[in-house]
């Protein structure tokens, strides 16, 4: 098993903030907008260094999305920042008409995604955002797994021409990918090669998948682990190459099983190579208050849930 080391727990939103700091220094067209959540989005350094390129919109997310669309007319590359819930569901029609249908180069950057937002509870824990965003024609959807990858993704989307949804989270989690990685949109990353089962994971569930794989390998099961940081466009080839070898798959995501990564993978498999699949995801439910760890455990989103899903899918081969 390929060994991955936690370089020290950190939050993915701080990876976004670090990426914004770098973009502020290197790309004069990048501008940032925020709806009264500067501290949560970790963009204070960008603001301090580029005050003229920052727009505090106030608690008015619909207006923020429209202003971002307008800023692209004149060549700016706007990055909007608020929680995932307010970045998607609250402003779906603004994104649909003014950004996606209008093909505007807006980067929708969403923190506090998923259930690991924790104690604030279900009003703020969106588990539907990947589905909402991936259904929009032309929208790229990215959910990086740790601090380093989120920073790399933030830099990469500035170079991509077109609307992007970048999803990251609140809690400090393992930071295990290389600091100097080059982020390629739409390219799956092979984290561990195996022959018995494929785990395809995104976001916070990637590290949990590695923990699960290590335990399973100790039981004599050969586990392939793939990090799908880009849910759309999906790396069909990487998925098919792997399942043709292993013959079964577990998908893992911090999102509802309706509309998430798992369903996207199912579509690829059903079309090209029908394969037994188990879904590690929330089961069409809202979240609740609690610590991130408690919630991941209660809603079946951790390494234990992934191990159980692997054992189940192996029996279906």
């Amino acid at each position: 098993m390929t060994k991955y080391t936690d370089q020290g727990k950190n939050d993915t939103r701080s990876g976004f903030g670090a990426g914004m700091t770098e973009l502020g220094r290197t790309n004069p067209n990048v501008v940032a907008l925020c709806a009264d959540l500067v501290g949560s989005l970790k963009i204070q350094t960008f603001i301090d260094e580029n005050p003229e390129r920052f727009f505090q919109i106030g608690i008015a997310e619909a207006n923020m999305m429209g202003i971002a669309a307008g800023l692209t007319i004149g060549g700016k590359i706007p990055f909007t920042g608020t929680f995932a819930n307010f970045s998607t569901g609250r402003v779906y029609d603004q994104i649909r008409q003014s950004i996606a249908y209008s093909d505007k180069n807006v980067k929708i950057c969403a923190s506090h995604a998923g259930i690991t937002l924790g104690e604030d509870g279900a009003t703020h824990q969106i588990l539907e955002d990947i589905g909402l965003m991936k259904m929009l024609p032309g929208m790229t959807v990215i959910n990086p797994c740790d601090f380093n990858q989120t920073k790399a993704a933030t830099l990469a989307i500035a170079e991509h021409d077109g609307p992007v949804y970048l999803r990251f989270g609140r809690p400090k989690v393992a930071n295990f990918t290389p600091a100097d990685q080059k982020f390629e949109i739409g390219k799956a990353l092979m984290l561990n090669e195996g022959t018995d089962v494929t785990i395809i994971a995104t976001g916070h569930l990637v590290w949990q998948s590695l923990l699960a794989a290590e335990n399973l390998e100790n039981q004599g099961i050969s586990v392939e682990v793939i990090n799908i940081h880009t849910i759309k466009p999906l790396d069909d080839k990487a998925i098919l190459d792997s399942v043709k070898k292993t013959g079964c798959v577990v998908t893992a995501e911090e999102h509802n099983f309706l509309g998430g990564l798992g369903e996207s993978v199912s579509r690829v498999l059903a079309t090209h190579h029908p394969t037994p699949q188990e879904f590690v995801a929330t089961q069409d439910t809202f979240g609740e208050s609690g610590t991130p760890e408690q919630l991941m455990d209660k809603y079946g989103l951790n390494n234990k849930a992934i191990e159980a899903a692997v054992l189940k899918v192996l029996k279906r081969k």
Binding site: V31, E52, R53, F55, I57, G58, A60, A62, N63, M64, M65, G66, I67, A68, A69, G70, L71, T72, I73, G74, G75, K76, P78, D93, Q94, R96, Q97, S98, Y101, S102, D103, K104
Partner: protein, 281 residues
Amino acid sequence: MPNAQELQDLVTQVRRDILRMVHKVNSGHPGGSLGCTEFFVALYNEIMELKDGFDMDGKDEDLFFLSNGHISPVFYSVLARRGYFPVEELNTFRLINSRLQGHPTTHEGLPGVRIASGSLGQGMSVAIGAALAKKLNGDNHLIYSLHGDGELQEGQNWEAIMYAAGSKVDNYIATIDLNGQQIDGSTDDVLPLGDVAEKFRVFGWDVLEIENGNDLKQVIAGLNEAKSRTGKGKPVCIIMTTMMGNGVDFMMHTHAWHGKAPNDEQLETALAQNPETVGDY
């Protein structure tokens, strides 16, 4: 620059275009289009500084955003007659494979359109963003936008109205088409708007009014006055009173023609009231 008679002739021709476009496909929105014909003709032929040709970024020229996208017939006619695309293309309005979609969009690459609109209440935010980009680029040109009065019932407008004043977006002129009508009836019956001018004022805008938005002279004077008030720390709002269906007697004084096309006989009557001037497409 065209003289007053040429502009008035163009207004009449644009009215004909609107009527013929919606009649051909038996759909579309003639009422608001006819009410705003003078505004569009004035804006694109007298007021805005425009470059030749079209590019999306629109640097070094004035830009216009249509928020109430359902009045696409007047927008398309004026764009075509300003040279953005061939006037013959007006024949394709709302037909399959056309660039002239029911509501304006950038999706098919129609020159002159910079944002999709139709789902109401979004255009002011976009216009503000474009105005901010102009400031960042050191571009002293202006942003114009048009909004229906009924459209102000959408809450996003009030976020944008608050923001534009609070952030001193003073290179921006928003015009409200105050025709008092919406699909289900008069605005007073559906959801009263109150004193729209006063609302903009208390939000911190510089507000002026055009009493008769169907009088070309008044429209041009009002737009020029608005221009002179830009750059002074406040966004500028024009409250422009218009008559929905203006120029066609049976379409006026009613909301019935908001989204309804004339039949053959009605078209004939309407065109007779607006004789051909610069030439039908």
